[in-house]
Symmetry: C2
Subunit: 385 residues, 2 copies
């Protein structure tokens, strides 16, 4: 039995439902950000982050900062890329647009390779041709675009980049994928994966969590132009993160002990089982959700099966059903879904997040309830009989 008061199940693509123990850690009594107890917890949390990203290379460097997931874009744009340097952005939706905007703020020369249609993604031959046509300092890919539920493939992409343009840094926006989609940081030679606490990791919002390769860190150190940000300066944070992981107190800006405690609890839970089981379970539940969506006569925004994320589903509504009518009906039934956010199709679809404890905890009924509520809502609005 959950110790949380009854509430509508939050099944949006982040924030997600949180485990009781994680929420209890949020209420931890106040402690010094440089005291031994907290320093040990932060150090362990950084070490667990390495496991989450499947990196054992000691040159890899995790960063955990107070901020929204968006801050990860600034980390990349202000530190990895110098003004005027070329970046290829693989664009699969709203969040790829955002990353491109952020890169431009810090002076990057951005080329966007846009998906051929909403719900699709740029294909390898096209990306390869772009990399052959021009030298890019970095390439960014949104692993799962939260606006479309389009999943980008990382392993073959990385292999192609290594063949075609090995000096190009591979930057992954993993905000909606870390802890629900497979990411092998070392094996796939990734240079950066940025994410946030409130999605599949299962810790309340407020932390920017990222992993950078040794090559990315060396790139920052070798910059000619000064870093373009103060709070998001990796140079300012690097010694702090290294010190905390070595259990030494250190200060640049005050971290949030409560959020770090909650992240420690969440990561301990995530890493209690093999990650392979976690990813398999997310796929299993996602397959069930997608089968139910098809059974209800609905289509997904992400067209091809191979392009569909496993932690969320973006669902086109029938012409006769308005999101502004359906979502309140679901909410009354105790299920919170999200509306659309992609500018080209915004009113035409809804988003269903299925990540974290809602998927991993077999005692939680909300995914099943959500499918039932969706069906009942479509009946109520006259689409189904």
């Amino acid at each position: 039995m959950s110790s949380q008061p009854p509430h509508a199940a939050l099944l949006i693509p982040g924030p997600i439902e949180f485990d009781d123990a994680v929420l209890q850690s949020m209420g931890h009594y106040s402690e010094s950000h440089v005291g031994p107890a907290f320093v040990a917890v932060f150090g362990e949390t950084l070490a667990m982050t390495r496991k989450l990203f499947q990196t054992t290379d000691p040159a890899s460097q995790p960063f955990i900062l107070s901020g929204s997931g968006t801050l990860g874009w600034d980390l990349v744009a202000a530190n990895i890329v110098e003004p005027g340097e070329a970046v290829l952005v693989l664009n699969t939706g709203y969040f790829s647009d955002g990353f491109a905007d952020c890169l431009r703020v810090y002076g990057a020369d951005v080329t966007s390779l846009t998906a051929p249609a909403v719900g699709a993604r740029p294909q390898l031959p096209e990306i390869e041709a772009a990399l052959k046509a021009k030298k890019y300092k970095a390439l960014t890919v949104t692993h799962v675009d939260t606006s479309t539920a389009v999943l980008s493939e990382l392993k073959d992409l990385s292999a192609m980049i290594k063949r075609t343009s090995p000096e190009t840094l591979i930057i992954v926006d993993g905000v909606c994928s870390v802890a629900c989609e497979e990411i092998q940081f070392d094996a796939w030679s990734l240079d950066a994966v940025i994410t946030a606490s409130q999605k599949a990791i299962g810790c309340p919002a407020g932390l920017s969590i990222s992993m950078f390769s040794g090559r990315a860190i060396e790139t920052v150190k070798a910059r000619k132009a000064p870093v373009g940000s103060y709070f998001a300066s990796m140079k300012n944070w690097l010694p702090i993160m290294q010190n905390y992981e070595n259990k030494k107190p250190s200060y640049f800006a005050t971290p949030s002990p409560q959020l770090i405690r909650a992240l420690h609890t969440a990561l301990t839970q995530v890493l209690a089982k093999p990650l392979s089981e976690r990813f398999a379970r997310h796929k299993e539940v996602s397959d069930k959700v997608k089968a139910a969506v098809a059974r209800l006569g609905l289509k997904q925004v992400a067209g091809k099966e191979e392009d569909q994320a496993h932690g969320m589903t973006a669902i086109y509504l029938p012409d006769s059903v308005k999101a502004t009518e359906l979502l309140p009906i679901l909410s009354k039934a105790g299920i919170v879904f999200a509306g659309g956010i992609h500018k080209e199709i915004q009113p035409k679809y809804i988003r269903f997040g299925h990540m974290g404890v809602s998927v991993m905890d077999p005692s939680r009924p909300e995914i099943y309830n959500a499918i039932k509520a969706l069906e009942a809502g479509l009946v109520q609005l006259g689409f189904l009989v």
Copy 2:
């Protein structure tokens, strides 16, 4: 009786001890950042922030963002000041140095007016002369420098600036002063006050809280150069803050519902009594702490009484007493003080924070206990008999 488990009282100059109800709000069940319940809470929190800063001018604009207090410096430096524009930094310690560094990152032409000695502050005639000698876009003042406990005077400073250089924007770093020192945003014609959640406001770390005047907002809108940050762009956040306050859902980057709930609880408590009582109580307790420090034969880093903060005390140790010996003795006695941080005097002093519930809640014994523990520690180390 507190519902928190027994723990050493945290009496550093932030994070401070938190009230039970605030910590309970940190564990709030997950909710959508764009759902009506949270939108209402965030809107009310923004409205309460106006009261905290004593501004009723509708042109004033609060911002509450996920991040450390340091993020407030980036807000000012990336938005208010354009590259090449002159800023006068009144320097009273470590945190004034930091603000100056941050301003330089975004291209400001910084002039530092350094205090004549550690523990002092630049004086009005000198500041006036500087403002007459050169045009400054903005002036920054660290209201309380957490490294020295030096309090800067704002009211007369502002009046002088209005006479001498009325177009200069007045920027206050209020990280260690908001909610324990008087700040009249409107009456003193301030243009920005930036702060953080974990000090006298009494909410766990993780929120950057700031107030900007209508003049400051117009300055951002009228920029010729693009804003120098993405996550810290006031242009990106302005419509979001305005929408939340008008109870309309809005999205730029995901806020932290739990931290905002906790801030809502903390501000509700702060505003339950007249602010004047709160400031008077902080002064009363501060006077007692400072009298005890003198009685123990110790000196403060902030030399003159008028330069001494009311939410913290920085205390020089006798030559025979090492901070590295005294602080662990205090910690064993259940009292956590902070070590020194100002580079010129770092090992020679300690810092005692007396803010928030530890001061306002008459049932809490920790301030009294801290004075007793300090005395006992000095006895144990042979300074007192």
